[in-house]
């Protein structure tokens, strides 16, 4: 083995050890690296108690209710398995919509309502012109009637 082969082997070995160490460290800190908790995690007691954390998921369709003061809003964050009601007083981001992702920061009250101090919209990775989105929505609407029988039964959904 020439000296330069030795040096390259040493570099390769070093990177390998470093990679393994990184994987182990990241696994150990898994729970500290998440930006938000899902409603299922909150229901399972994985979210911190008594202090502020973030909850993320879809804003359930038809759940957004605005109070008469125009600032206080109620909505439900869901991951299709569990639902958490959220109360927030303030201005919502422009892209906050029912059926889209959102992340809320705040505390979980004793009654199970999440009182948010900040709400962020979580954007998805789809980019398309409005016409294409309309066409997709139409196709989905016509397809929904046919595929209704394929949807997981409600009873099983609740047990997830």
């Amino acid at each position: 083995m020439k000296p330069r082969h030795k040096r390259f082997a040493f570099i390769g070995l070093g990177l390998l050890v470093l990679g393994v160490a990184t994987v182990l460290i990241l696994n150990a800190f898994q729970s500290n690296l998440v930006f938000f908790f899902t409603p299922t995690q909150v229901a399972g007691g994985e979210a911190p108690h008594g202090r502020s954390f973030r909850i993320g998921g879809m804003v359930e369709d038809g759940s957004l209710v605005r109070e008469n003061d125009g600032l206080t809003v109620h909505f439900i964050v869901t991951d299709t398995a569990k639902r958490v009601p959220v109360t927030y007083k303030g201005i919502l981001p422009d892209l906050f919509k029912e059926g889209k992702g959102a992340v809320a920061q705040g505390q979980l009250g004793v009654d199970g309502t999440f009182v948010a101090s900040e709400v962020l919209a979580k954007h998805d990775e789809n980019y398309m012109p409005p016409e294409a989105a309309d066409a997709l929505a139409k196709a989905k609407a016509s397809g929904a009637q046919q595929s209704k029988s394929l949807v997981v039964p409600d009873g099983r959904k609740g047990s997830l």
Binding site: T22, L26, V34, E118, E125, Y127, P130
Partner: protein, 251 residues
């Protein structure tokens, strides 16, 4: 006709070659940037959710890709430098760092400008944003470490080790959106699942990426030339005499 490529590993031979290549890369980069920006701003359609604000991706995504790609290239040159004790490899690594840092900063800046109207926040501490910020600090660390050591050989070797160690962060940045819950959305374009964008949007973004790539090559080659002159304490070489000297050698 065979070309003896290994001769270009000598800084003296590489210097005139780089000088001849720079204008080509620079001209094509500027032209593609013009085409890419025109397509991005005038040809690509409006997005169905974000309206016009999404157009920042034509700068943001290519910049973020280049920031990661350049770090890997820098680490590879650093590794070759350590393995072969090749001076030019260290010079390449040194020349890449500022351009990589610039693209990292650009990605963070444009991301913040996009985040405010889209998410409702300039900055959040999620895994994607934080690891990209760490990448900026890594570039700064590589540059600072080099300038803080006077002995050139030691400076080269220590900053090369620093660059190599830091390469673990690149896969973390790339996969952060898959491994953990993040506010940053997943990849719109990926090798495995294809593209989730309209075709013209994707085209404009890819043209911008190639433009940024060629720009990086041009700027890095120009910087390597400066480093060669600086390190060898030579006056700026006359291009023609260097080339003619080469011709004489070949004969």
């Amino acid at each position: 006709m065979s070309v003896n490529w290994s001769k270009y590993s000598a800084p003296q031979a590489f210097y005139p070659l780089a000088g001849r290549l720079i204008p080509w890369f620079a001209v094509v980069a500027v032209a593609l940037m013009g085409v890419g920006l025109y397509m991005g701003f005038f040809v690509a359609p409006t997005d169905f959710q974000q309206g016009e604000s999404y157009r920042i991706i034509f700068v943001h995504v290519p910049a973020a890709w280049m920031s990661m790609f350049l770090y890997v290239v820098m680490a590879v040159w650093a590794g070759i430098g350590l393995g072969l004790n090749a001076r030019l490899s260290f010079m390449m690594a040194q020349a890449i760092a500022p351009t990589g840092a610039m693209f990292t900063f650009l990605a963070l800046l444009t991301g913040a400008m996009w985040g405010k109207p889209t998410w409702g926040a300039w900055w959040v501490w999620d895994a994607r944003l934080t690891s990209e910020l760490i990448l900026l600090f890594q570039y700064a660390g590589v540059m600072l470490l080099r300038t803080s050591i006077d002995d050139l050989r030691r400076a080269d070797r220590s900053s090369a080790v620093f660059a190599l160690v830091g390469v673990v962060n690149v896969p973390i940045i790339y996969y952060s959106v898959q491994w953990w819950n993040t506010l940053h959305q997943g990849a719109s374009v990926s090798m495995s699942t294809g593209s989730k964008m309209a075709a013209t949007m994707l085209m404009a973004m890819l043209i911008m990426t190639i433009a940024f790539w060629l720009y990086s090559i041009a700027v890095i080659l120009a910087r390597v030339r400066c480093i060669v002159v600086e390190r060898d304490s030579l006056p700026v070489w006359d291009e023609r005499s260097a080339v003619s000297q080469e011709v004489v050698e070949v004969r």
